[in-house]
Amino acid sequence: MTERFSAPYRGYDVLDKWDTPSFNDQTRRVLRGRMDPPPRRFFSDTEWRVLLALCARAMPQPERTDPVAMAPFIDADLHAGRGTGTRRADMPEPGAAWRRGLAALDAEAVARHGRGFADLDAAAANAILRAVDSGDLADPAAWDGLPAQRFLRETALKHIVSIYYSQPQGMSEIGYGGPASPRGYVRLGTDRIDPWEAPHGQWPDR
């Protein structure tokens, strides 16, 4: 199976607006801080390998030689104890949920293929994620009461995508306007775009 991503906004880069009124100092400061992935401080070596594999399955980037990194930012959030304001009564706090969930994913891989999650090919790893999402667990004991689908969707995927789309590459590929202060937008109507927005996308169906 070859994976290909067809981007409707090829060539558009929100960073081209870096020195324009769409960016202000505080936004430049935030994005600059996001360019260097922080060092790993939270996850163990084993957890880290599973996390990297999970991010690669969640947001595969076959077209990039230097893919957007997500794992280091998750690690930094957990190291800093950054919360979401909600702890479901049947879930441990985020750091513990992540550790238990990654270990359980690895156990699922071992139970099905005799190898760790990080050593599976893309198709096998994807199949495990789909099975876990539908509650079809090969090693239920490894989850130790952690709700598997909720871990996958609300703890893991939600965190991963929040990081991916906070990176300029993520914003650019969907044609999002990106930072917009002090200058916002003028043309609000259907199919109308300001000169500082992405040009119309290339849509196969239009």
């Binding site: 936004t27 919360g83 009564a89 969707r153 995508v161 991916y164 969907i174 917009a180 002090p182 609000l188």
Partner: protein
């Protein structure tokens, strides 16, 4: 004031100290602020500076009362503190965990809880609608829930006051509700996402309107007109948004109120006579006590009950104002179900405030044969930022991989409709204390929530209706999602001490100098966003307390 270097980061150290507070209209300036010594017995200590606290502080200070208002969060200057960045702007929210359980556990944090001077209005989406008049007597007039201890005519007067104070921009004629005066500012141009709603409404033969919004369509004082950058939910960095931070807070300061930022109130103290004597708060690394003749709790539907419960003492072993076991009960949300569709044209819903068109048809139509629920719902056009929308997609569908990236690549062609759906007040939907403690050593809140059958019928009806509307507007590949928004109730006001926590003035039945003034007072949720109602109710309560002060009956 000096435009000197920004002295420190707002999250790290209090800014409102030394006789000055941040000038919210500047990048680094200050305005003078009156200060009170801890030992001074001030007239009012107010806990929380959102819709309830900020409005009440302004009213009381303008009438000459001494006021100290506390907020657990920072005192921002939006022009220099707010970035165009979803992750960075998480700093506006109450991110310390609450424990969530029940049949339909609530999502808290960014979903409904702010933590900064100005409360949740620094990140609210500015939709400013009035209740339908009958909702203030929904039990007597419509046969469900409970009546408010307030007459709608009185609220109508205060709605007008709130709309002036927040300079609401709205249409010349609004299709629903009793005849009303003009909005202070003209309506905004409706964006493409809103025009999808308009097209669908016209196809189905129901009315729609440009949404009345708390962001100005023309300059107002130091607020420039909205520039349609679309990041209202993560904080308005231009000050076009008429949040509490840029409307009532400067007024309160100018009238002599003191504001203490990064000041978490952990306990309300009581004296031997059973009256409250002041508050214990944590600021600058230590605990302090502020003495006060009256204490007002305005921390919103979770923190208000939590503080009352955490203030239990020998005389009030179940918490303050809780003699009838009503504190924390009848917590409500709005169901926030949505339908999303792909359109043929580019919508680019990131431009403009997220909800520029609205429909209140189902708040006012009582006779349609399809109506199988009590209460009402409104719905609005949508414009989530990328991280927010990606989170919705993965939560609702479990999509990942290239499938997810391809779906997100159609971001610019998406449109959505989302409801603000009334839920019924239920005694067992409630806030209690968990056995976990926060960083201050205070027991955290536990929130228990579940929908009732009526709530479910209501949101199912809305999903059917919105799906039809989006299809009529040309949408395809529909996706339905569920969530909740807003908090109401938890310390409701009423006319009976057995079934409510306060009287119509926000005065607790049990302790005469303990008051509540925020969204937790709401006995019902209505089918519209709550902030305008909370502001209007606080203005009403403020005038009542000032009048009592003049007569010497506080």
């Amino acid at each position: 004031m000096s435009a000197g270097a920004v002295s420190h980061v707002a999250e790290d150290r209090p800014r409102a100290t030394g006789g000055r507070a941040p000038d919210v209209f500047s990048r680094s300036g200050w305005v003078p602020m009156r200060e009170h010594a801890l030992g001074d017995e001030v007239d009012f200590a107010i806990v929380g500076s959102g819709c309830g606290g900020a409005v009440l502080a302004t009213k009381l200070a303008e009438a000459g009362h001494s006021v100290v208002m506390f907020d657990a969060g920072p005192f921002w200057r939006p022009l220099s503190d707010f970035a165009s960045d979803e992750r960075e702007q998480d700093k506006l929210y109450w991110l310390d965990p609450r424990v969530s359980d029940g049949d339909d556990p609530l999502e808290l944090g960014a979903n409904n809880s702010g933590r900064n001077v100005g409360g949740s209005t620094t990140h609210f989406q500015m939709v400013s609608l009035r209740f339908r008049p009958d909702w203030f007597k929904s039990r007597s007039k419509l046969g469900y829930a409970v009546d408010w201890p307030v007459d709608w005519h009185e609220m109508w007067h205060y709605y007008a006051e709130a709309e002036r104070a927040m300079a609401i921009s709205g249409p010349i004629s609004y299709p629903w509700g009793p005849k009303r005066g003009r909005y202070p500012y003209r309506e905004h141009e409706v964006n493409a996402a809103g025009l999808v709603l308009a097209r669908g409404a016209e196809a189905l033969g129901v009315a729609w309107a440009p949404t009345p919004l708390a962001t100005v369509s023309a300059p107002r004082g130091k607020s420039p007109p909205c520039v349609y950058r679309g990041m209202c939910k993560i904080g308005c960095s231009t000050n076009a948004k008429q949040s509490m931070l840029v409307t009532y807070i400067p007024r309160a300061l100018a009238a002599g109120a003191e504001i203490r930022d990064l000041a978490m109130v952990g306990r309300i103290d009581t004296g031997p006579d059973g009256r409250v004597t002041g508050v214990e708060f944590h600021r600058d690394g230590g605990w302090h006590v502020q003495r006060a003749r009256n204490v007002v709790v305005a921390g919103y539907s979770i923190e208000t009950p939590r503080l009352l419960l955490n203030s239990a003492c020998g005389r009030y072993p179940n918490g303050l104002a809780n003699g009838s076991d009503q504190v924390g009960r009848y917590l409500m949300v709005h169901s926030n179900h949505a339908v999303w569709a792909e359109m043929d044209e580019e919508i680019r819903w990131y431009k403009g405030p997220p909800s520029m068109a609205c429909c209140e048809h189902w708040n006012y139509d009582d006779d349609d044969p399809s109506r199988d629920f009590h209460g009402g719902y409104s719905f609005m056009s949508q414009g989530p930022l990328p991280g927010d929308f990606a989170g919705t997609l993965v939560t609702a569908t479990g999509a990942f991989g290239l499938d997810l990236r391809e779906r997100m690549a159609r971001y610019n062609r998406m449109a959505g409709l989302k409801i603000v759906g009334e839920t019924m007040p239920q005694a067992d939907n409630r806030v209690t204390l968990s056995d976990e403690k926060d960083g201050f050593g205070l027991p955290r809140a536990r929130i228990t929530f579940g929908y009732c059958d009526n709530d479910r019928r209501l949101y199912r009806h809305s999903l059917r209706f919105m799906s039809r509307m989006l299809q009529a507007a040309g949408g395809h590949d529909l996706l339905e999602t569920s969530s909740t928004a807003h908090l109401m109730g938890g310390c409701r006001m009423g006319s009976d001490p057995e079934t409510s926590v306060t009287d119509a003035n926000g005065r607790s039945w049990e302790i005469p100098n303990l008051w509540i003034c925020d969204g937790s007072l709401m006995p019902t949720a209505g089918g519209v966003n709550p902030a305008l109602t909370i502001v209007a109710n606080a203005a009403r309560i403020g005038d009542r307390i000032v009048a009592m002060g003049r007569k010497g009956t506080i």
